[in-house]
C-alpha cells in the first residue's frame, strides 16, 4: 500500500506569503499614486508650455497676446503660468496671466493686462492723458489724435479665446491620445505583479510586493521631455 502525505505546513506558508505579497503590492501602488500623478502632471505641463510656444511662433497673430510685445513664442517672455497640483486622484492645471512689463510698439506705459484683456475679447477705449494726444499706427502710418480711441478687438480678431482653445485642444487631442491613454494601456496588465510573484511566494512576501508595486507605478522606461 502506498502512503500519500500532504505537507500542509508548506502550503499554508506559501499562501500566507502570497497574501502578504499581494498586500505589499497594493500598499506600494497606494503609496506611489501621488508621485506618479505628480510626474505625469509635470510632463504634461512641460509639453503644453512648449506646444503653446511653438504655436505662437508659427501663428503669432493668434497667440502674440500671451507674450511680451514682439516676442511671441519666446519662453522667457510668456505672460501665462500653469500651476500643476497633483493629488492621489486628480491632476489639475490652473492657468493664470502675468502682467506685461514691456513698452508697447506705439510707446506709452506697459499694457499690463494685455494677456487677459485680449484673450477675453473685451473692447477698450483709450483716453489721452492730461489733454495730450494718442499716437498709433494705421496701415504703417503713425496717426495722432486728441480724441478717445475705441478698439473693438485689441490684438486683432484672432486672439480672443485663442489661448483657451489652444490649451483645450492640446489636452483633449494630443495629451489624451499620445500621453495619458498609452500609459494607462501599459498599466492595464500588471506584468510586474506576475514577474515578482514566484519570489514573493517563496518567502519574499510583503517586501517583494512593495518592490513589484513600486516598479508597476513607475512610468515605463521613464518619460523625459527635451
Amino acid at each position: 500500500m502506498t502512503a500519500v502525505t500532504f505537507n500542509f505546513t508548506d502550503l499554508v506558508t506559501k499562501l500566507e506569503s502570497a497574501v502578504q505579497y499581494s498586500m505589499g503590492f497594493v500598499a506600494a501602488v497606494e503609496q506611489e499614486r501621488l508621485s506618479f500623478n505628480t510626474k505625469l502632471g509635470e510632463v504634461i505641463k512641460t509639453m503644453l508650455e512648449r506646444y503653446i510656444d511653438s504655436q505662437a511662433s508659427l501663428s503669432p497673430e493668434r497667440l502674440h497676446h500671451m507674450y511680451e510685445w514682439g516676442q511671441a513664442g519666446d519662453p522667457s517672455a510668456r505672460l501665462f503660468d500653469f500651476n500643476m497640483v497633483a493629488t492621489v486622484t486628480h491632476i489639475t492645471l490652473d492657468g493664470s496671466f502675468r502682467q506685461s512689463t514691456s513698452i508697447p510698439p506705439s510707446g506709452g506705459p506697459p499694457f499690463e493686462n494685455k494677456a487677459s484683456v485680449m484673450e477675453s475679447g473685451a473692447s477698450i477705449t483709450i483716453t489721452p492723458k492730461d489733454s495730450g494726444v494718442i499716437a498709433f499706427d494705421v496701415d504703417g502710418e503713425t496717426v495722432f489724435t486728441s480724441s478717445e480711441v475705441f478698439i473693438e478687438h485689441p490684438g486683432g480678431p484672432e486672439v480672443s479665446g485663442a489661448f483657451r482653445e489652444t490649451v483645450e485642444g492640446f489636452l483633449r487631442g494630443y495629451a489624451k491620445s499620445e500621453v495619458i491613454l498609452p500609459i494607462f494601456r501599459s498599466m492595464a496588465t500588471p506584468q510586474e505583479f506576475k514577474r515578482y510573484f514566484p519570489s514573493g511566494v517563496k518567502g519574499g512576501g510583503y517586501a517583494t510586493g512593495l518592490i513589484a508595486g513600486r516598479e508597476y507605478m513607475r512610468i515605463k522606461g521613464g518619460l523625459n521631455v527635451e
Binding site: L58, S59, E61, T166
Partner: protein
C-alpha cells in the same frame, strides 16, 4: 564653408513635398510656380514671411519637444506644422498632409525607403523611423494677417525614430 547637418525632420519634409506633388493634381502645384522652392519653412525663416507667399499654400514648422524614455534608444519627436493657405486650396493641402503622414508604421516604412533612395545606397540621414501620427487639435481658423482671405491650421506630427 557652411555645412548643414541633416536632421530627421529634413527627410520628412522632403518626403512630404514630393508626395504632395504626386498626390495633388499638377495644376494645383504648378499654378503657384514654386520653382525649386519647397514651401515648407522652418519657423522664422525669412522667405516664409515674404509677401510673395500671400495666397499661396505653404507650411511653417518647428519642433515643439522630444520625449525620451530613459535608456531606450527610441525617441519621440513632436513637430508642429502650420498650414497657411488661401481658402480654396486649404482643404486639399490639409487632407494631403494627413493622408501622407498619418499612417503609423506604413508612413515610417515609406519614409525609410525614401531616405535610402536619397542617399543612393546609404542613408541620406542616419535615422530609422518607426511610426508617424498626426493630430489636428483645433479646427482651421481664418487669418487676418494677410490682406486676402486666408486660413491657417496647426498639425502635430509625432515621429518615433532611432538614430543609427
Amino acid at each position: 564653408m557652411l555645412s548643414e547637418t541633416i536632421e530627421p525632420i529634413h527627410v520628412v519634409n522632403r518626403y512630404l513635398w514630393d508626395e504632395l506633388k504626386k498626390r495633388m493634381s499638377p495644376t494645383e502645384i504648378t499654378k503657384y510656380n514654386y520653382g525649386n522652392i519647397m514651401p515648407i519653412f522652418p519657423v522664422n525663416d525669412s522667405t516664409s514671411g515674404d509677401a510673395k507667399w500671400i495666397n499661396r499654400p505653404y507650411f511653417v514648422y518647428t519642433q515643439a519637444f522630444r520625449v525620451t524614455h530613459g535608456l531606450h534608444v527610441l525617441k519621440k519627436a513632436t513637430f508642429v506644422y502650420s498650414l497657411k493657405s488661401n481658402v480654396n486650396d486649404f482643404m486639399g493641402w490639409a487632407s494631403a498632409l494627413q493622408d501622407i503622414l498619418d499612417r503609423q508604421d506604413d508612413a515610417a516604412a515609406d519614409i525609410n525607403e525614401y531616405n535610402w533612395s536619397l542617399g543612393n545606397g546609404s542613408l541620406y540621414c542616419p535615422v530609422i523611423f518607426h511610426s508617424f501620427r498626426v493630430y489636428q487639435n483645433e479646427p482651421a481658423k481664418p487669418s487676418s494677417s494677410v490682406s486676402t482671405p486666408s486660413v491657417s491650421a496647426t498639425f502635430m506630427v509625432v515621429a518615433e525614430y532611432h538614430l543609427v
